[in-house]
């Protein structure tokens, strides 16, 4: 009797798992299926395609605009990640290891910046970008993405650094290490996991960003992938080249999915450390 109960329980549990997995994966699966069909079969709604073609992918890769937006996305996301990590690593060090007046205020400010509506900095940022003369350039995107990545990274990095035992730092001080040496030679190796986590999160955030990229770029050459994907329109709603859009979507998403599958543990620890466990 007891055994049956356990069996039923397990069945229910695994059915639930399956249901969740299908809900999470089906849209992406469907995008892949649609991207592999030619335009004649696109509207067939077969769950398992019988005849597939790579024509859409060939078309997307052959498209100069998509190529340049892809490159822009890579460059902007990498630069954003690099800049974010550099400034936040430096700043997290005193915030995590020392008590000084103004410390809490800095942390609280960073926390409140994470909740800002980004549209509220749009006009001020527009003016700043005009003054710096970087409109329609990558620098404009990197600068504006800082509002998304920096406060979050600072917060998570401070938490990570906080968890390093004080004895390690004290030993280095007694050995006569300077602050800079402590940060680069002692902390940095210990912080590698934190750097990977926050770096990934910053990269994903920059890769996916849409509002600033839409507003601060004008030409096809300067756009990032989300923007070109959004502006990909046919004459009417029904003439949208869905096969191409789906192929482009899959190409944009695949790198992220690979990263997530490899680094899921790291990403989850960073995501949760950033807010609730704060």
């Amino acid at each position: 009797m007891w055994k049956y109960k356990k069996l039923i329980k397990n069945c229910v549990f695994y059915t639930l798992c399956l249901l969740v997995a299908v809900c999470c994966l089906f849209p992406f699966y469907w995008a892949i299926v649609s991207s592999l069909l030619d335009s004649a079969h696109l509207f067939s709604t077969e769950l398992w395609p019988s005849k597939i073609t790579l024509a859409n992918y060939r078309h997307v890769f052959g498209d100069a605009t998509f190529g340049s937006s892809f490159l822009n996305s890579v460059v902007v996301a990498l630069l954003t990640t690099l800049l974010t990590l550099t400034v936040c690593l430096l700043a997290a060090y005193p915030l995590a290891r020392h008590k000084f007046p103004g410390r809490k205020r800095v942390l609280m400010t960073a926390l409140s910046v994470t909740t800002l509506p980004y549209v509220a900095v749009l006009s001020g940022m527009f003016e700043l970008i005009r003054i710096l003369d970087i409109y329609n350039e990558k620098a404009a995107l990197v600068l504006s993405y800082m509002i998304i990545t920096a406060p979050f990274t600072l917060w998570v990095m401070t938490n990570f650094m906080n968890s390093i035992p004080k004895e390690i730092e004290e030993a280095a001080i007694i050995d006569g290490a300077s602050k800079y040496v402590i940060l680069t030679k002692v902390f940095f190796p210990l912080l590698k996991p934190a750097v990977v986590t926050t770096g990934l999160l910053a990269f994903i955030a920059a890769w996916n960003e849409f509002l600033f990229a839409l507003t601060f770029t004008l030409t096809n050459q300067a756009r990032t992938v989300p923007v070109s994907l959004a502006l990909f329109t046919g004459a009417t709603q029904h003439e949208l080249p869905w096969g191409l859009i789906m192929a482009a979507s899959v190409i944009v998403t695949l790198p992220l999915v690979v990263l997530v599958v490899i680094f899921q543990r790291r990403i989850i620890s960073g995501l949760t450390a950033g807010s609730v466990k704060g």
Binding site: L42, T115, L116, S123, G124, V252, Q264, K277
Partner: protein, 302 residues
Amino acid sequence: MQINFTPLGRKVKKTNFSHWAFLAPCLVVLVLSAGWPLLRTIYFSFTDATLDNLKETNFIGADNFISLVRDQDWWQAVLNTFVIAFVSVPMETVLGMVIALILHRNFRGRGLMRAIVLIPWTIPTIVSARMWAWMLNDVYGIVNELLLRASVIDSPIPWIASSSLSIVSIILVDVWKTTPYMALLLLAGLQSLPQDCFEAADVDGIPFGKSFARIILPLMKPTIIVAVIFRTLDAIRIFDLVYILSSGNSANATMSVYARKHLVDYTDVGFGSAAATALLFFIAFLSVFYVSFNRKKLYDVG
């Protein structure tokens, strides 16, 4: 050198400026990307600035705000925003809790399951919006096709094209996309609970429903509240999904979409900034709750 204790154990107070040297680059970045633009936006909201003329602006007092309050479309946007936030966040919380409980259990394939659950969160919002717009397409979409085949509906539903249904689509996609994040926040909370509670309940043979209501839920309350407030603040600034799925229909705009439309498309920086400032006000109001609730946790950091 920074040793805080003398041999007698008394604290030595020293003003140390090198802290601020380390902080400076980050503070500069935050001021340039957040602080300064924010102040300028608030300033612009009291002027007649346009996109072509940001320099010689005239101070016009609260005129922008007065016309904002008089604009029917603005209040529609406010309503839409709150409908989206207050419908999708509770749904995400419930579904997120279910997923968190699944992931909390020790079973074969747990790592795989975690990766699968994370995928909707990873997919860029624009891609999600496009994918779902394709699936929900009224003529060729798979959703209508499956519903028709299962005879749930008789004729295709115009999910995106109809303005009253497109808000349903927006909520649906938002829930799909953000539930994983919610689940992870709740999972972190579950894992920080004393695990012997779960074991004790299991040994005593208490049915799951009861142990959930009597043990897990009360213990999880602080985590749930923080996660809900955090997500609500995030939902109120929603932009990407709505921008794509409402296809420019102002009946479905949210506050962010409305503000950007006036700011960029109509080049009315003054008025757009006023709308953005109003949104900021809503968020600030709700943030007070969040920050006061999180303050306790903040002190754990230092």
